[in-house]
Symmetry: C2
């Protein structure tokens, strides 16, 4: 999408869509889940749990880093990944609010507005 068009959309919607995009791939769902369920913080272990090449997993990890979902510490030669606490709650909060909005509104089952003429 072009920058011009993006600017005409609400910043909040763009921000939320970034959360969506970050979670728009099975591997990027599986990685945070793995980090929460197991102690597999080392990159190599994450790779072992996914049917993807190391380079590909590293790319997904980068996406999750950019989205602020995970943090990492470098302990050469390995990297330790973990879930970002601060952003976790922010994610849950913002998405929760979105769901509240969506859940609370528009209870009509038929069309309430019509365009009869111009």
């Amino acid at each position: 999408m072009s920058k011009v068009r993006m600017e005409k959309l609400k910043p909040m919607d763009t921000r939320l869509s970034r959360w969506g995009k970050a979670l728009a791939h099975p591997a990027r769902i599986a990685i945070p889940r793995t980090l929460s369920q197991r102690d597999a913080c080392v990159c190599a272990e994450i790779v072992d749990h996914l049917p993807l090449a190391q380079g590909t997993v590293s790319q997904h990890l980068k996406d999750l880093k950019n989205a602020g979902i995970i943090t990492w510490t470098v302990e050469e030669p390995s990297s330790c990944y973990s879930l970002d606490k601060k952003t976790r709650s922010q994610l849950a909060g913002e998405m929760g609010r979105l769901f509240e909005e969506i859940t609370s509104g528009c209870n009509s089952t038929t069309c309430s507005t019509k365009v009869k003429s111009k």
Copy 2:
């Protein structure tokens, strides 16, 4: 992603990633929000509120339909869109569980597992 690879991932992760993908575009955040906040159920009004061509909006509406997020009734020549109640709660429920999982696990700040040798 190829079918072979998809099959090696958990079905739950694939299902959740579809929710993410459906919400991975600002327009597909804005449309459900509009449907919840206003009574703009007629397609033409949705188009008026977005900086996108009618055909493009129709495509996004199709995506949201396929994801099960919105429902619609046809009242020729117009279409009335609304949020899908059943799927709304499902979405909130599944995503909520994911966030719970993510939020509850992995409190360590340093690496807990290391691969020293093979």
